[in-house]
Symmetry: C2
Subunit: 284 residues, 2 copies
């Protein structure tokens, strides 16, 4: 089975749009602020995608660029303004920052009001979720979970390998799946490849967000057992996108797999808005 | 090697005491408030231990019991008072709560000012630490890490099995050891025992906080490879304490092991005060 992201995205978007349209008085002056503080081309493309999705769903998204983006104080003042503006629902600081701001990353993210930190970058929401007070997952790990849910692939009590331990994907995904009662094998780039292979072969679900092109191949799979593979990787080689998994090598040996392109990534932007709706419901 | 907790406790206490004595003007009116809201005998004993340790280290610890402990509003008001009292450094709500308060657990813990939440129960500190902004570990997982550090048992890039996924021990320990670059195998009570055994055999370090008496025996170990075992379990059978590991069965086959009693638990209370010192240094 090919786990296409498009249908998952659509069902998330329908839910978000219905919610926004059902509360016109609340949303009329509300907006999301995205701070774009670098010249990174991929960041600009991603920010534009977020803005387009916002318009599609009926919520204003302001992309804020400042000529004096190198001035930390100025950036902090901007965030403060958004914190204090009750019409600003969420503040997104698009990462990576430019070079001169990077040393101030913690200070900048810390400035964002916890309840406006849609990306959960500042950690408090992750902690609340770890304890179980709220359910919150940043957009990318949520996209993984939404795909599994949509295609009715059970995670409870399953064995799940997660390759990658980043703050944005690997760590929150491990926490979330532990909450669901899964046994977790968590690997990083320094992990013993032989052990990783053995654990992958034993896993019901393999999730890769490691950033090694086509690393997961047939060698990592159980020969009979129908496994599910979720590929969070994204590479563009000679104009062609591919992921952490060698799709053509493994596709006939698995129960289900997300393609690249068209798997996890199309779902992530929709998850930002799904998070927005959930947080409004939680925090009012 | 037997990893005795006593020396680790002593070195942590010396550091805490030196710090407190070096800042007499700061600490003179400061105190820690412990809310004891149940009749649980073990809780009372543990709270008394904390108070005794505080006195030993030079900081006042107030145990607060209220006759109307069943009144949620009263409990929340008390917490508010401590939040607003600048002399109150930390607020500890001793768990478990009594039965009538248990449904209000989240509300009660949420009331504690993040910067006074020494136990990290409310999650925000865990999230901050997950992101890497602060280093924070609740007392019990910190005790595990302090023992490993004291005995110079390296965790970087190691394979580590953690049996147990609780909010207080298993989850924060997994996050912390991921930050240190370890490969993590995380199990819960529903996990496949056969896979757990295989992962244990492959691990450099096995940490058990699962609450199954003497579950880890020779079957779980590699026959030649010197492994380190950390036992967070605590059981009292016929007046004799023992842990999650079958100490006598495994002790000759491992590189190092914490005994029960005398291993992890004596270090935990000292870790509360070590956390106190670190948080004062971080947040002022």
């Amino acid at each position: 089975m090919i786990l296409k992201g498009g249908v998952v995205r659509e069902s998330l978007d329908v839910r978000s749009k219905d919610y926004i349209m059902s509360r016109p008085a609340f949303f009329v002056d509300k907006y999301i602020a995205i701070l774009l503080l670098s010249d990174d081309v991929a960041s600009r493309a991603y920010v534009n995608l977020k803005q387009k999705k916002g318009i599609e769903l009926g919520i204003r998204v302001d992309i804020v660029e400042k000529p004096n983006e190198n001035d930390v104080k100025n950036v902090l003042d901007m965030i403060d303004e958004f914190n204090n503006d009750s019409n600003c629902l969420w503040i997104i600081v698009q990462l990576p920052l430019n070079e001169s701001l990077t040393p101030h990353l913690a200070t900048i993210l810390a400035k964002i009001d916890v309840k406006k930190d849609i990306d959960g970058l500042w950690g408090a929401l992750l902690g609340y979720s770890q304890i179980g007070y709220v359910n919150f997952l940043p957009a990318t790990p949520r996209a993984v979970v939404e795909i599994l849910k949509h295609y009715k692939i059970d995670t409870i009590w399953k064995k799940i390998t997660i390759v990658g331990q980043s703050n944005l994907v690997g760590k929150p995904l491990a926490m979330e799946l532990m909450k669901q009662g899964a046994t977790i094998f968590s690997f990083n780039i320094y992990s013993d490849q032989d052990v990783m292979k053995k654990c992958c072969r034993r896993s019901d679900i393999i999730i890769s967000a490691t950033g090694k092109l086509k690393m997961i191949n047939k060698d990592y799979l159980h020969s009979q057992w129908g496994q599910t593979l979720i590929d969070v990787g994204w590479w563009k080689i000679n104009g062609k996108a591919s992921g952490d998994m060698d799709f053509n090598d493994v596709k006939d040996d698995v129960f289900a797999i997300t393609p690249v392109p068209g798997g996890v990534w199309p779902v992530t932007v929709s998850c930002i808005f799904a998070n927005l709706i959930d947080m409004i419901e939680m925090f009012g």
